[in-house]
């Protein structure tokens, strides 16, 4: 195993590190940068718990090698809110609408929803279910999550009005 040097921007902060080539971006974020909000569930691209924004696009960080992300700009759940200790509109909406129970899947949902609403600010129920087809929640039955996405669109609109 040979270590490779990488430099990435995570949540606006420039981070440098050395990592084994085999390390996934999810493991690098958690183990090297101590950003443990990104969860690792299935490790084969199905559950969506590890979703992060890579150069602005929602991707599965378990299917990206850390060295592939060299030079990239990454946003994790820790960087979704406006500042530490304050919730962003999607987080606020998930809390208000009971869009979570155990919370394991929630970081992935929040990151995914944040990215999708940036592209589609007023989705229908069907569009929400389609946009969240790559995130699995085993607690809520999704009703609260769909409600939370609608609520998030209102909160975002209020904030920008």
């Amino acid at each position: 195993m040979t270590d490779q040097a990488i430099a990435i921007t995570v949540n606006g902060e420039r981070r440098k590190g050395r990592t084994e080539a085999r390390t996934t971006l999810a493991d690098f974020l958690r183990d090297e940068l101590a950003l443990t909000g990104t969860h690792v569930g299935c490790e084969h691209g199905v559950c969506g718990a590890c979703t992060v924004l890579l150069d602005g696009e929602a991707v599965r960080s378990c299917l990206v090698l850390a060295v592939q992300a060299d030079g990239a700009d990454i946003t994790t759940i820790e960087g979704i809110g406006p500042e530490p200790g304050r919730l962003g509109p999607v987080q606020q909406a998930f809390m208000e609408c009971h869009g979570l129970q155990c919370g394991f899947c929630t970081p992935g949902f929040v990151v995914s929803v944040t990215s999708f609403l940036a592209e589609q600010p007023a989705p229908t129920d069907d569009e929400i279910r389609e946009m969240l087809s790559g995130n699995i929640c085993r607690c809520t039955g999704y009703q609260g999550i769909v409600a939370a996405v609608h609520r998030a669109t209102e909160l975002i609109e209020e904030a920008t009005a």
């Binding site: 996934t24 490790e43 084969h44 378990c62 299917l63 060295v67 592939q68 995914s112």
Partner: protein
């Protein structure tokens, strides 16, 4: 394990020439799963993520050249979706949004899975795959020759898929797929149907029901006369016969996803529906 991350095409070809044992890593949606599950041993990988030239597409006349690392998201949005609608429809059925942001058309080709969703569309379009290597330069291979068998392509050692060229046709196009849910599924059966109004015909290809994408030649010949061109009028009976003939071209197997019998039936239904959608009563 070593990952090389070239920043341009020449660098990628040089890396592959230097390390003929290297595996190309594009979107990672197949390869990383194999690695994470221990189905593939770590080795030398050439990541294409930073190779800009491969991410672009262009139109010259009635032909699109789509770079190998254009993602499914890139195919389902914007101009490509208007110019080659069946490709966009197929891209939209792949995985989830996160997978579509990562997976690439070149990866779909090079992986050559029988269930690759863009492959029947590329087959129906008679696409041309542009390959390149440092030693032999560029060559163009018909998609029919490129797809050799299950997970086998005509790529030589050290060779890379650079782009795929597809025609811009006039007339409606359809892609239909059957899976166990509406997202995150590997296709059980897929049908791509494109009309070529200028030449007065339909072209139809199947996915997940043979070792590679298959063309439904008998169904195509039937449509040339059973459909009135250029009005695209056809009878309801013609749709039923088109479905039956298309199912006849399938060579499905039983596996853990579906039986051969079910797959053939799914092809018949999808082909009939696709035919009804691209023709007029």
């Amino acid at each position: 394990m070593t990952v090389l991350a070239p920043t341009d095409l020449d660098g990628a070809l040089a890396a592959l020439a230097e390390r003929p044992d290297a595996t190309v890593l594009a979107g990672g949606t197949d390869l990383m799963v194999e690695l994470n599950f221990g189905h593939r041993r770590a080795g030398v990988f050439v990541s294409l993520r930073r190779v800009r030239e491969l991410r672009e597409w262009s139109r010259v006349g009635d032909e699109l050249t789509i770079g190998a690392t254009v993602t499914y998201t890139g195919l389902e949005r914007g101009q490509i979706a208007t110019l080659v609608p069946a490709l966009a429809q197929a891209a939209r059925t792949v995985g989830s949004p996160q997978i579509r942001n990562a997976g690439t058309i070149g990866g779909n080709l090079a992986t050559a899975s029988p269930a690759g969703d863009t492959l029947p569309v590329l087959s129906a379009l008679d696409a041309v795959v542009v390959c390149a290597s440092a030693s032999a330069g560029r060559r163009e291979v018909s998609v029919h020759d490129f797809l050799v068998g299950p997970k086998r392509s005509a790529l030589a050692a050290g060779e890379l898929v650079v782009a795929v060229r597809v025609p811009v046709l006039s007339g409606p196009q359809e892609f239909l797929k059957v899976g166990t849910r509406n997202a995150m599924v590997i296709s059980i059966a897929g049908v791509a149907l494109v009309t070529d109004a200028a030449r007065g015909g339909l072209r139809c290809a199947l996915g997940s029901v043979g070792p590679t994408a298959l063309r439904a030649a008998d169904a195509e010949s039937f449509a040339a006369t059973a459909v009135e061109w250029p009005s695209r009028r056809a009878t309801p009976e013609a749709a039923i016969e088109f479905g039956r003939l298309t199912a006849g071209a399938a060579r499905p197997i039983d596996d853990h996803r579906a039986t051969a019998h079910y797959r053939r039936h799914a092809v018949e239904v999808c082909a009939r529906r696709a035919f009804e959608r691209v023709t007029l009563r």
